[in-house]
């Protein structure tokens, strides 16, 4: 059993408060992803779990044991680094065997474990090579192998796929997921790539400026973001935001700015009641906008002018001007439109989000 509990964790580098009061409970066998822009504290948090950074205040526990004071070598964890950190002067075999040698495993045990791990990762034929003779993807696998071989309680990943080219990254993502399914070891994974977070995590922790913004399953965060940052961070292309004013007319609420006048659906209207005559931020994702047809109600649409057309094959992205804003709509690839065309876009009312402009929290 390997649960990781992070309680009120803080880290200060001189004056910089890099990690602010992080609380996180990671269940056994869970794959948790810490995601956020650079400088958000995710790597620092990971390093504190690893024992590579000292803890300013707070506690980290593995199962019921406080590991604050334990040196990295005694925490029974394994880490995969962004730059793989393979020992250049040792063969792949020795790289993988190093940790076991340090723990005084017998030669036979080491050989068995290394072979097993090599088989899982498909690197048996590379065992005698030196790191400099390997490609990026191969080095990545060796780094993984080195971690697996130890049978640790927790895996830590520090942006392991960032140095791979796009295609390889996608491939490795799938393999990592398969590996986790097979091994079942608790894992904490740090990345700045929201796609990795969404695809790999059982749960995702979004961080910004040292604070946890939201924790939850990927789709939960995607569909019900807790604040503006999470909403804008997950999903590509990013959610569209527009500043609107809430007004009341004939018992229903309307959100409007110079470019649009949208009727607020009944479910959300209740929560927005307090914000009448206020400015709020409205959010709608590109895929929840479509070219309006006759069947779409007028109060759920707006006019726009096409500025840029991006044809991706699976969809078409329209960069449109709405009033003084720009928005992005992801529409059916069969659409025939031209730049500078005026058209009407309709939105899916169930997918509207509203955020308090000052606090950025969801309403």
């Amino acid at each position: 059993m390997a649960e990781v509990h992070i309680q009120s964790l803080n880290k200060k580098f001189d004056e910089v408060h890099a990690v602010k009061d992080v609380n996180l409970g990671i269940r056994d066998k869970e794959f948790v992803v810490l995601v956020g822009p650079s400088g958000c504290g995710k790597t620092t948090t990971l390093r504190m779990v690893a024992g590579l950074e000292s803890i300013t205040s707070g506690r980290i526990l593995i199962d019921d044991k406080i590991i604050n004071e334990l040196p990295p070598m005694d925490r029974d964890i394994a880490m995969v680094f962004q730059n793989y950190a393979l020992y250049p002067h040792m063969s792949v075999y020795d790289n993988m065997a190093f940790g076991l040698k340090m723990r005084k495993f017998s030669r036979a045990d080491i050989a068995k474990r290394v072979q097993d791990a090599a088989e899982i990762l498909g690197i048996q034929q590379l065992l005698m090579r030196k790191p400099r003779q390997l490609s990026g993807g191969q080095r990545q696998r060796v780094a993984l192998g080195r971690a697996i071989v130890r049978h640790p309680q927790v895996f830590l990943f520090d942006e392991p796929l960032s140095n791979l080219d796009a295609k390889l990254r996608v491939q490795m993502r799938v393999e990592l997921k398969k590996l986790h399914d097979r091994l079942g070891t608790t894992a904490i994974y740090v990345t700045h790539d929201q796609v990795e977070a969404m695809t790999l995590g059982d749960r995702v922790v979004v961080m910004k400026d040292g604070l946890v913004q939201q924790v939850g399953e990927p789709l939960e965060l995607y569909n019900e973001p807790a604040n503006l940052f999470v909403a804008g961070f997950l999903g590509s292309p990013a959610m569209n935001f527009a500043t609107v004013e809430i007004s009341e007319t004939n018992g229903s609420l309307w959100a409007e700015n110079e470019g649009m006048r949208i009727k607020v659906p009944a479910e959300i209207a209740g929560r927005l009641g307090r914000h009448v005559r206020d400015e709020v931020t409205m959010g709608i994702r590109p895929e929840d906008l479509h070219v309006a047809s006759a069947a779409d109600p007028t109060e759920l649409g707006f006019d726009a002018m096409i500025e840029v057309i991006e044809k991706l094959g699976s969809e078409i992205l329209l960069d449109v001007a709405v009033g003084s804003h720009t928005m992005v709509a992801s529409v059916d690839p069969g659409i025939r439109v031209n730049v500078h065309d005026r058209l009407r876009l309709a939105l899916n009312p169930e997918r509207l989000h509203f955020f308090n402009t000052q606090s950025e929290a969801v309403i």
Binding site: M1, A2, D28, I62, D63, D64, K65, I67, L70, P71, D74, R75, D76, D116, I120, I148, H151, Q153, R182, L183, G184, T185
Partner: protein, 313 residues
């Protein structure tokens, strides 16, 4: 399947108990202290302590075998009024200044020459460093032989070329001795300057020269406006280091002239040796050695300021 063992939940194994020494060495600060201990001990014992001793000696009247008494600044007064000391100051300054200028100029020229591609470049570079690699005293002996008043090969050459008719007493003529010594110092130093400056030159991207050439700069202008400013940092480091070494030079003069003739080549180091070791006047020798200290101080301060400036960039 071999990997079911991984998936089987195991209770979190307690961390192994670590002895106090291991725990201590895991602490960055204690480990650093341990690692630095041998170095600090050696340097403390054989540099810091002697330095303090040297200062102490200079304010006593100690001689070999006779522990001295505190005499205040008497030694300093003495050397201040010592004619030979004045000569040594003058000689050392001239020696350092002239030699450094020539080493820099010639070293730079050689570095610029070596900065081209030509057949045998690597081997040339290897041979050029020889004067710096071969023990100074031994190559200086060769020079002494070359300068020998009766058998000098240099005299022979100049004679054959019709330049001279009577002999040149390189090391015995008081007017020439300092020049001869400077010549040997320059000979030994040029390779160091050349190879170091060459390394500096090689960090200057050739694109900068090409851009300057396209802009219409001629070779001399390219050097002055592109190469030299970029070379200045490296040059500064080399010159500062060389200055302190030359100022404190001993071996060359000791072997060639011993400080003579008639103190014509007497330097701080040789005079200190003569007084301290030769005649056993320890305190006075120590005092003269300390005369090198102000120069060292200036060099160190300049180096540190310069390094601080570079690091804040």
């Amino acid at each position: 399947m071999t990997f079911t063992t991984l998936a089987t939940p195991t209770a979190y194994a307690g961390a192994p108990r670590r002895g106090p020494v291991t725990r201590l060495l895991e602490d960055e600060r204690w480990l650093a202290m341990l690692l630095l201990l041998p170095t600090l001990a050696l340097l403390g014992l054989f540099i810091a302590y002697p330095f303090v001793e040297g200062v102490r000696l200079s304010v006593t009247d100690a001689k070999v075998g006779v522990p001295g008494h505190f005499v205040g600044l008497q030694n300093f007064e003495q050397i201040w009024n010592d004619d030979i000391f004045h000569v040594a100051v003058w000689n050392t300054c001239v020696y350092t200044a002239v030699a450094t200028v020539f080493k820099l100029a010639l070293g730079l020229w050689l570095a610029l020459l070596l900065n081209h591609h030509f057949k045998g470049k690597a081997i040339t570079r290897a041979f050029i460093l020889l004067p710096f690699i071969i023990p100074t005293v031994l190559s200086t002996l060769a020079w002494k032989w070359m300068f020998d008043p009766t058998f000098s090969v240099i005299n022979w050459m100049l004679f054959r070329l019709g330049v001279i008719h009577s002999r040149i007493n390189w090391l015995g003529d008081p007017n020439l001795a300092l020049i001869s010594v400077i010549i040997v110092n320059v000979w030994r130093g040029v390779p160091f300057y050349a190879i170091s400056l060459l390394a500096g030159l090689q960090t200057i991207s050739p694109e900068l020269h090409e851009a300057a050439a396209i802009d219409g700069a001629r070779a001399w202008q390219r050097f002055w406006h592109v190469t030299w400013p970029l070379l200045l940092p490296v040059t500064l480091v080399i010159v500062l280091f060389s200055v302190i070494q030359t100022f404190a030079d001993f071996q060359l003069v000791y072997v060639l002239t011993g400080g003579g003739p008639a103190n014509a080549t007497q330097l701080f180091a040789t005079y200190a040796y003569q007084l301290g070791i030769g005649t056993g006047l320890l305190s006075q020798g120590a005092t003269i050695s300390l005369a090198v200290f102000p120069v060292l101080l200036v060099v160190v301060i300049v180096q540190l300021l310069y390094i601080r400036r570079v690091e804040t960039h």
